[in-house]
């Protein structure tokens, strides 16, 4: 925990984005997490990604559950909306907020405990309901906040700080998300911002449920030898399969890849997502083959990273329910509460 506030002074050559803001304008209070926590790097990546997207901070809503990871929305986008909910219940809050206002960009931050244990049911259903948001799990294989119990994503045989091995097989949230119908599924590493930042940008722009599983070492309880979620282990076992980069309308395309290796996906806001295959056999648009690949890699002790599955033009919750395009806060009293007569009418139509 750091007590000194971060000075307001900044580098005079810091880049401003299209709306004249620097990266510093996307920051918030200084983190109170343990020094070196991977979650802080994820926050830094979110800050950088949102800055690069040139979306004003107040057009974001941050939602989270409980855990060290779920605390992090306090440490980025200080001028955004936010709701820190109860353990494992972020999806309910996110769904509600999204139904009330589809114009905000939703960033959900959860933990492996929050999403794979207590909140697994909610996790499954928000995917099923196709809420348009960017859902990030800071996956450290442990309950950091409650001092280091194994979480459900911890690998079998991976040891605790005291050397005791975990007896259960892990839940792989990426596989679950692909299987349950998420339209954007990615995995990355907190220590690799080069990969992570474009993924967050693309996930924010993606229309539909975008899930990113970010392996994010817990320096305090799960960064030792014997852990499969330590900085060293993850660095040595990641296998990037798809490299994603987001080309904004104003960007110049500087790198040209070999024909056949890149897939270019137009995003609804005019930017273009370029996916570069690093592995020949990988098909990021095919749910079954993506799932197979990810699980095979896991069998071999490797961690497949990158944008693992993408389905553009997915339907979302509002499309399915036919709910209001105008945010509730933009509706007149009359349409929000049309009165007894209208209620009677509806009731009658159902009789």
């Amino acid at each position: 925990m750091t007590f000194v506030p971060k000075p307001k002074a900044r580098h005079p050559l810091l880049k401003t984005n299209e709306i004249g803001l620097t990266r510093r304008d996307y920051e918030a209070i200084v983190s109170t997490l343990c020094a070196g926590c991977g979650h802080d790097s994820v926050s830094a990546a979110v800050i950088q990604a949102c800055h690069e997207l040139s979306i004003p901070p107040h057009q974001f809503a941050k939602v989270s559950g409980i855990g060290c990871s779920s605390k992090t929305p306090s440490y980025f986008l200080g001028n955004a909306h936010g709701f820190n909910s109860v353990h494992g219940r972020m999806p309910s809050i996110a769904t509600g907020a999204y139904l009330a206002n589809k114009e905000l960009k939703y960033i959900g931050i959860s933990g492996d405990g929050d999403s794979a244990s207590i909140g697994l049911g909610q996790f499954a259903h928000i995917i099923r309901r196709k809420v348009d948001m960017c859902y990030i799990v800071d996956n450290n294989g442990t309950y950091g906040l409650t001092k280091g119990q194994f979480s459900a994503t911890n690998d079998r045989g991976s040891t605790s700080k005291r050397g005791v091995p975990n007896l259960y097989a892990p839940i792989d949230l990426v596989s679950l998300a692909i299987q349950l119908g998420a339209s954007f599924v990615a995995r990355s590493f907190s220590g690799d911002k080069q990969q992570l930042i474009p993924l967050i940008k693309a996930a924010v722009l993606h229309k539909g449920f975008a899930f990113i599983d970010v392996i994010s070492p817990c320096v305090m309880f799960n960064n030792h030898e014997g852990s499969t979620k330590s900085y060293t282990h993850v660095r040595n076992h990641t296998e990037p399969v798809i490299d994603a980069s987001l080309i904004m309308p104003r960007d110049e395309i500087t790198v040209e890849y070999e024909e056949g290796t890149t897939i270019s996906v137009p995003m609804h806001d005019g930017s273009e997502l370029q996916l570069r295959k690093l592995s020949d056999s990988y098909e990021p648009n095919d749910r079954v083959s993506a799932l197979t690949y990810v699980q095979q890699a896991q069998e071999e002790g490797e961690i497949a990273t990158g944008l693992l599955f993408l389905e553009e033009d997915a339907v979302n919750c509002h499309d399915i329910l036919g709910t209001s395009d105008t945010p509730f806060n933009g509706l007149e009293q009359e349409s929000l509460c049309p009165g007894v007569e209208k209620l009677e009418q509806i009731n009658d139509s159902l009789r």
Binding site: P7, K8, S41, S190
Partner: protein
């Protein structure tokens, strides 16, 4: 790039921008911290050790440290380093217990100091504690050189001057005042073991223009006139005064005239305002006293009627930049005539030593300057050393102190039969961790965003009425504390230990100034553009680590670091630590014990 060698004393010394820029390498942040702790006496002694005249310099220094101050780059205005020195001097207690002991028993070596300016005085101070016998000669009736004869009392009160001059003289200098040195040969015949020439640059330049001879009784050379004011021979000036020249002497001349009864005073400068030699604050002070400064006006002719000065004709030019240099070309407008009854000529000085015979083995170069070894300040005559303005031409007091420390070491080495150039003691650096607890540092790491505080001035009318009224009042303790808090503690260094780093990026993410980047190594020019924020200040170093496990290096751009310690605070493994660098600049005092 090669990994940075932080044991090279210059590496961290350069990071302490002010100390590096100070000719005497005063450990600035160290004394500023002491001021913040109200430990004024210790703050004063740190200054006294390095620059010898803290009270005087706290009012008059040219302050090369301030434009170098990191705060100019991170925010805007530098820390008021110079005026904080004055705070230490104004509020200090009894310093006698801290002064070096001068042995009763002499070491048998006799040294002659020629001139009693700051250079000679500082040599005396360094040599006396080692038992040297010091004889100091000067034509003036007291010690201090130009600090006494030139700098006006409204900038430097007499008691402040005398306190610091007397302190040294009373350490046991045999002062021979009112002693005109007219022959170096005579001095050599007195058979001293070594000589230090600290006679300054006492000849003011003149300008030979039409009419010059005829009006000579209405023209004074600036420095001669100021010294006659200082010694009480001149007490008034009347009519319209033109001061010609754009340096600090011109500023002192015009402000002195303003106080001695001139009807009006105008400063006329050949060159543009921005390139005038005078320091910004000297110009500001003169203008605040209502003195106009006219620029781009080269003088052409002194106009007189039968020897009675009427005024001066000036041409009009404008500066244009050609090949990066300023050139002045006529504007084509008609010349201007400015009325004047008296002219003060302040267009420069020379270190002219007509009394040094040219056949004694002391070589002079084609500009008539003595040939001196830059490291030892030894002339081509092995017994004779130069320092202060006499060495390389007019500079200032702080350079005089810096030369003196060098020369004193040389004289000591020489008197011991050692080589003043090659046997000099080396510089060194010590690093001491400032960590006191998990989040506790032994320095005030928190960044203070306040603006530079302004030094209060005496009432304008009161100071113009009396030349002895000091214009600047100095910071009181409260303002002094506030200004001290602005110091960034640049001597508390960020020290990186590669083998501890787990490359978690915490330091990169927290750094408010984007100083730190982990990136593949590359040549310096490439690295400078590959960092989180571009490193465009080329004279500020990059701190580069050994290669890390991911095949990258840590690169820190020293340029804008606030020394806030956040990197070290957020580092889980102490790979970053905040360590105070103590730069050991050799001084004779370290030989005294």
């Amino acid at each position: 790039m090669q990994p940075t060698d932080i044991r090279d004393p210059n590496y961290f010394h350069k990071v302490v921008d002010c100390q590096w820029a100070c000719p005497a390498h005063t450990p600035v942040p160290e004394y500023i911290r002491l001021i913040a702790q109200e430990r004024y006496t210790e703050a004063y002694m740190i200054n006294w050790e390095s620059n010898v005249f803290p009270g005087i310099l706290g009012r008059t220094c040219d302050r090369p440290c301030e434009p170098a101050c990191r705060r100019v780059r991170t925010e805007e205005k530098p820390v008021a380093i110079c005026r904080l020195k004055r705070v230490a001097a104004d509020h200090k207690g009894d310093i006698t217990p801290y002064l070096p002991k001068v042995p009763k028993k002499k070491n048998g070596k006799r040294i002659a100091l020629l001139g009693a300016g700051p250079a000679s005085l500082a040599v005396a101070r360094d040599l006396l504690p080692l038992g040297y016998t010091i004889d100091m000669f000067d034509r003036d009736p007291g010690g201090g050189g130009m600090m006494r004869s030139q700098i006006p009392a409204f900038r430097l009160p007499k008691d402040v001057l005398e306190e610091e001059v007397d302190l040294i003289v009373n350490m046991g200098v045999n002062a021979r005042y009112n002693y005109e040195i007219s022959s170096m040969k005579e001095m050599l015949d007195m058979d001293y073991d070594a000589y230090f020439v600290g006679t300054g640059a006492p000849r003011g330049r003149d300008l030979d223009l039409p009419g010059r001879k005829e009006v000579s009784k209405h023209i004074s050379i600036g420095i001669d006139w100021l010294s006659s004011v200082a010694f009480g021979h001149t007490t008034s000036i009347s009519g319209k005064v033109i001061v010609m020249g754009g340096g600090n002497t011109a500023m002192d001349c015009c402000r002195t005239s303003n106080r001695l009864g001139a009807e009006c005073v105008t400063v006329v400068v050949r060159s543009a305002f921005d390139v005038m030699k005078a320091s910004d604050w000297e110009k500001e002070d003169a203008m605040a006293e209502g003195i106009p400064i006219l620029n781009n006006r080269p003088p052409k002719e002194f106009v007189h009627e039968n020897g009675k000065l009427k005024g001066v004709v000036f041409g009009r030019v404008k500066p244009i930049e050609a090949d990066g240099r300023l050139k002045y070309v006529p504007t084509g407008e008609p010349d201007v005539f400015i009325e004047a009854n008296h002219i003060l000529m302040a267009i420069g000085q020379e270190n002219h030593c007509p009394w040094i015979e040219r056949d004694l083995g002391i070589e002079f170069d084609k500009w008539d300057c003595p040939v001196i070894d830059e490291d030892s300040l030894q002339s081509t005559h092995e017994k004779i050393f130069f320092g202060g303005d006499s060495a390389f031409g007019p500079e200032n007091i702080i350079w005089a102190s810096a030369h003196a420390h060098k020369a004193a070491i040389s004289i000591h080495l020489f008197c011991q039969g050692k080589d003043p150039k090659h046997d000099r003691p080396p510089e060194a650096v010590n690093l001491i961790s400032q960590k006191m607890g998990i989040h506790e540092w032994s320095y005030d790491a928190e960044h203070d965003p306040s603006q530079r505080h302004i030094v209060p001035h005496a009432d304008l009318k009161r100071s113009l009425d009396n030349i002895k009224v000091e214009v600047e009042l100095g910071f009181d303790e409260d303002l002094g504390f506030k200004e001290a808090q602005r110091c960034l503690n640049c001597d508390v260094q960020t020290v990186f230990t590669e083998k501890l780093c787990i490359e978690c990026d915490a330091c990169v993410d927290i750094c408010p100034m984007d100083c730190i980047t982990f990136t593949p190594n590359a040549p310096e020019a490439e690295l400078r553009t590959a960092l989180t924020a571009p490193a465009e200040t080329l004279d500020q170093d990059l701190y580069v680590s050994e290669t890390l496990p991911t095949n990258r290096v840590m690169v820190k751009d020293e340029d804008l670091c606030l020394h806030c310690g956040l990197c070290a605070e957020r580092c889980p493994t102490n790979a970053w630590d905040m360590q105070k660098s103590i730069i050991h600049i050799p001084q004779l005092s370290s030989y005294a014990e």
